[in-house]
């Protein structure tokens, strides 16, 4: 062997020699001291502080659970990546691009003493069992003794969480911090892959974020509207709640539109317009022919000059054209619902109006004055909006809301309620997936969709736990409170009949697992998991709505369940005199001004 180079005689040949670009680790370098770059990862091309490793690892894990599924992969490919060497920043930016909230990242200050790299071997206990509900059907058979141990661990975990929330409410951040550490330890003893462990983990993160809010980041709050749409779409796919909402609302709308030639639907949250193809097709098939249908879709403004509302409108227009329904679309871009004004819809005289609000009205609520919630206090945005809804004299107002009270004045109450609500939600995602015979049993695809659906729910959860004031928009209230509120505003319930109930049940047997249940509650329908209602659908009409319409005909027009996928086809604008689908977008600015800038799409809305 030549002596012209150093030969390896059993010692590691690489010392930490001073070439800047190459800090190659020596055998003794088992890890840099705090704050320094991990030298081994540096050799692999990544600059990560040793103290950030855990944070990055957690972020990678969260990214993985978010970043599954076709749409998400496509979205991540469109994301702009910067400096992949800075793994910490890369992971954080990917998470804020694709995951609902940066709040879910553990704040560096709160480094857990617990080993989050736990090795769970337990089966999953369901929080459900702690509420004395039915035993989750998918819990595998294990010995009674081990189940008790897990149940103990789960109970302890819940107890810790609630205690922690309590100290947060009292402002005792020292106690809260200590309880958080204990909670993380307890978390290490349960399987965080699913069930109580998974939900608890998210709540731990949320509490942590509430305790130690990160400084405002350059990326601003939360993910973009486009990414929220993706999450929403996965939630739509993964479980039947939104489909149920659409189905039920459409049925009510269809019935309310009977006998009317010109109809106008106002959708409070257009998203991808998943609700409307089925209605368009049902209208196409109705005896006597379809009406002229106008759809006004409200949604968030698109960044970057994209006009997402218009794109959806064009797709729907194309569909309407293909089934020969005269159709016109208008988009209203608003950052907050309370900035919308009824004149933006340009309701024409003689039109039958339907107002459709799926999981939107709660965003208009404010803090409740007292635990009993006498809402005779100051006017909230909800009152203003309900007033102009009633002013439109709608034939039908369809309201779908989460069946939970996440707007209680006490933070602890909200927290506890949310813990149980979302635990049940997550259970249903898990159980419905396993049990369902969904589209030929594509198990892996379902897993993927469910994981992203969870991210959608996490976003809600986090908003409830971490935010206050105007930023807290997930102010869910139960159906009983909505009844009172809508009644005081001058709306009367339209009972959803057994036909709607039957169709909802059929939908569930076809597409979802056992465990889901539809119930009729005084004219409204709820959908829940194992006897816990999670979402409610109700229909209303204005008290003094002009009753020129014929009496309600209880013949049911069966709505075909339109395929849930919206193909992003080409945005062909079909021109033809008999097809009115011109479109203009009105933007409302945040703030008090009512001044509106037309986006200058160039087309005006003409009328029949």
């Amino acid at each position: 062997m030549s002596s012209s180079f150093r030969s390896d005689m059993g010692t590691d040949p690489y010392d930490s020699v001073g070439d800047d670009r190459w800090i190659i680790a020596s055998a003794s370098d088992r890890g840099s001291s705090r704050g320094e770059i991990d030298s081994l990862l540096h050799g692999a091309g990544y600059r990560v502080r040793s103290t950030d490793l855990r944070h990055v690892a957690i972020g990678l894990e969260q990214l993985e659970s978010t970043m599954v599924g076709h749409q998400c992969v496509a979205s991540s490919a469109e994301a702009i990546h910067y400096n992949p060497s800075d793994l910490t920043a890369w992971v954080d930016s990917m998470l804020s691009e694709l995951a609902p909230d940066p709040h879910l990242l553990r704040h560096p200050q709160s480094t857990a003493t617990a080993n989050t790299w736990a090795d769970p071997t337990q089966q999953r206990p369901s929080l459900h069992r702690l509420e004395n509900h039915h035993q989750h059907r998918n819990v595998p058979a294990v010995s009674l003794q081990s189940m008790d141990e897990e149940e103990d661990a789960a109970i302890r975990l819940v107890h810790l969480l609630v205690s922690c929330a309590d100290s947060v409410q009292r402002g005792d951040s020292e106690m809260a911090g200590s309880l958080l550490d204990q909670t993380r330890l307890a978390l290490a003893r349960v399987n965080t892959g699913f069930g109580i462990g998974k939900v608890a983990g998210y709540f731990v993160d949320a509490l942590c974020r509430r305790l130690y809010p990160p400084p405002p980041s350059a990326t601003g709050g939360g993910g973009s509207a486009a990414n929220l749409e993706i999450l929403y779409h996965h939630f739509y796919e993964a479980c039947p709640y939104i489909k149920f909402a659409h189905f039920t609302a459409n049925q009510a709308i269809l019935e309310a539109f009977q006998g009317h030639d010109r109809v106008h639907v106002v959708d409070f949250n257009l998203m991808h317009g998943l609700q409307w193809p089925a209605l368009i097709q049902a209208l196409a098939l109705r005896p006597g022919g379809p009406p002229l249908l106008r759809l006004t879709g409200i949604g968030a403004p698109s960044p970057d000059g994209r006009d997402a509302l218009r794109e959806v409108g064009l797709r729907l227009a194309e569909l309407a054209r293909s089934v020969q329904v005269r159709f016109a679309f208008r988009g209203v871009a608003a950052t907050r619902l309370e900035h919308v004004r009824p004149w933006m819809f340009q309701v024409a005289p003689g039109e039958a109006v339907a107002v459709n609000t799926v999981l939107q009205l709660h965003r208009l609520l404010g803090d409740r004055a007292s635990p009993e919630g006498s809402d005779a206090a100051a006017a909230e945005p909800i009152d203003t909006v309900l007033e102009w809804i009633v002013g439109l004299k709608p034939k039908i107002v369809t309201v779908v809301e989460q069946e939970a009270d996440h707007n209680k004045p006490s933070f602890l109450d909200r927290f506890t309620e949310a813990l149980f609500y979302y635990s049940t939600m997550f259970d249903s995602l898990e159980g419905g997936r396993v049990g369902g015979s969904h589209r030929g049993g594509q198990q892996q695809q379902q897993t993927v969709v469910a994981a992203v659906a969870e991210a959608y729910l996490q976003r809600e959860m986090c908003n409830i736990v971490c935010f206050e004031g105007a930023a807290r928009v997930e102010r869910h209230e139960p159906l009983a409170r909505w009844r009172d509120r809508l009644g005081r505003a001058g709306l009367r319930a339209v009972h959803l009949g057994s036909n709607a109930f039957k169709q909802a049940s059929m939908l569930l047997t076809l597409f979802s697992g056992e465990g889901y249940c539809v119930e009729e509650v005084a004219g409204c329908l709820t959908l829940g998991w194992h006897s816990r209602p999670l979402i409610s659908a109700s229909a209303w009409r204005a008290d003094d709505a002009d009753d020129a319409s014929p009496p309600r005909d209880h013949q049911t027009l069966v709505l075909q369940d339109h395929s849930s996928s919206i193909t992003s086809g080409s945005n062909n604008v079909v021109d033809g005199d008999d097809h009115l689908h011109q479109h203009s977008v009105m933007r409302s600015h945040m703030g008090s001004s009512d001044r509106i800038n037309d986006t200058g799409s160039g087309s005006s809305c003409s009328r029949v």
């Binding site: 062997m1 030549s2 012209s4 180079f5 150093r6 030969s7 390896d8 590691d12 040949p13 690489y14 010392d15 020699v17 070439d19 670009r21 190459w22 190659i24 680790a25 055998a27 088992r30 890890g31 991990d38 081994l40 990862l41 050799g43 692999a44 091309g45 990544y46 990560v48 490793l53 855990r54 990055v56 690892a57 990678l60 894990e61 990214l63 993985e64 659970s65 970043m67 599954v68 076709h70 992969v73 991540s76 490919a77 990546h81 992949p84 060497s85 793994l87 992971v91 790299w117 736990a118 090795d119 769970p120 965080t192 892959g193 198990q443 892996q444 897993t447 993927v448 994981a451």
Partner: protein, 346 residues
């Protein structure tokens, strides 16, 4: 268990150090973004994300590197790593680069980087590190071949490029050593690189080029049936059956299945290796690698065909254990490689 996309990071967290976990998980995540369900690959993003290092003719820890084009007309690039030439100049002159590092016999290691045929390059940081280590370990000249990758280039492009590199190296006078001016070459590779090393070694045996040894680190093999290890370890240690399938589909010819001899060299479609002057093999298998059953079957197949195999089975090792020098697996396997090379370089 089913659900290869299930997030199940828990076992892997306990099996490797944290920085290794971060590194491999980062790769896994990034690679997920790059593989499209329709079989195409986001090559631009892949190249953007891959951490690369330039060649460096200034000695670092006694090792220098430079890039060469193999053959004048070819576009095949290779990065050469070698002990720093003994010269007083701070930076070796070009002429110095092509001097043999030693008059005494020294090994030439033709290295094929991993990446499941689709990822990485010879200038990827992780492989630059590994090749430098081989130089210091064995006093070797390492030729890291930048072979064409799938899905843009399918079978047999990677093998063709490997063969071209071997032929080129065998004709370079400065790579010959010892009194008999012999070209003492080893073929080495990890993952897909291990697979390439095997197939190039077969061609060498058929063509009369003598290879002193094959070094296969977690070589990538497969077959149609699902082996026990694949089923047991699916998704548990960074790798899934599903992604393996994707990469094979991307590499193998259209319409081929995984019993194609490229993937399954001892499968139903394979040519016999009995009687061929096939080289000795050092095969390193990680016990937490889901394709280990195929790797073990490969070793068995070689033995049955009458060829020498040294099998090193690291029970608790995962894929990529050789990327960071932070475990016993790393150091002990490097020792095995060094011993194997030293024993066979004469």
């Amino acid at each position: 268990m089913a659900g290869s996309n299930e997030v199940n990071a828990n076992e892997s967290k306990m099996a490797v150090p944290l920085n290794t976990w971060v590194l491999i998980s980062n790769f896994k995540l990034a690679y997920n973004m790059l593989r499209r369900p329709d079989g195409t690959f986001d090559r631009h993003l892949a190249e953007f994300l891959d951490r690369k290092v330039p060649a460096n003719a200034t000695p670092v820890n006694g090792v220098i590197s430079f890039d060469v084009l193999i053959g004048r007309t070819s576009k095949l690039l290779s990065r050469i790593y070698r002990p720093a030439p003994s010269t007083s100049a701070a930076v070796p002159l070009l002429a110095d680069l092509y001097q043999p590092p030693s008059a005494d016999p020294f090994p030439v290691i033709i290295f094929f980087h991993g990446g499941s045929f689709a990822h990485s390059s010879s200038n990827s940081a992780i492989y630059d590190s590994l090749c430098r280590r081989f130089v210091s370990l064995c006093g070797a000249v390492v030729v890291s071949v930048n072979y064409r990758r799938s899905p843009e280039y399918k079978y047999p492009c990677a093998y063709d490029d490997g063969w071209a590199a071997l032929k080129w190296a065998s004709g370079e006078p400065w790579l010959q050593s010892g009194k008999d001016a012999k070209f003492r070459v080893f073929l080495a590779g990890d993952s897909s690189g291990g697979n390439i090393a095997h197939h190039v070694a077969v061609r060498a045996a058929e063509s009369g080029i003598e290879v002193s040894g094959n070094i296969l680190l977690n070589p990538m093999f497969g077959g149609n049936c699902r082996t026990e290890s694949e089923k047991r370890l699916d998704g548990k240690y960074f790798v899934t059956i599903r992604d393996r399938d994707w990469y094979w589909k991307a590499y193998l010819p259209e319409g081929a299945d995984r019993d194609h001899p490229a993937c399954n060299p001892f499968g139903p479609n394979a040519a016999k290796l009995d009687g061929l002057p096939f080289t000795k093999s050092l095969i390193i298998v990680a016990g937490l690698d889901l394709v280990q059953d195929w790797q073990l079957a490969y070793a068995e197949g070689l033995k049955k065909a009458g060829h020498s195999v040294k099998l090193v089975y690291r029970e608790q090792a995962t894929i990529g254990f050789y990327l960071l020098p932070n475990t016993d697996h790393f150091y002990q396997v490097m020792d095995e490689i060094k011993n194997f090379v030293m024993a066979n370089v004469q």
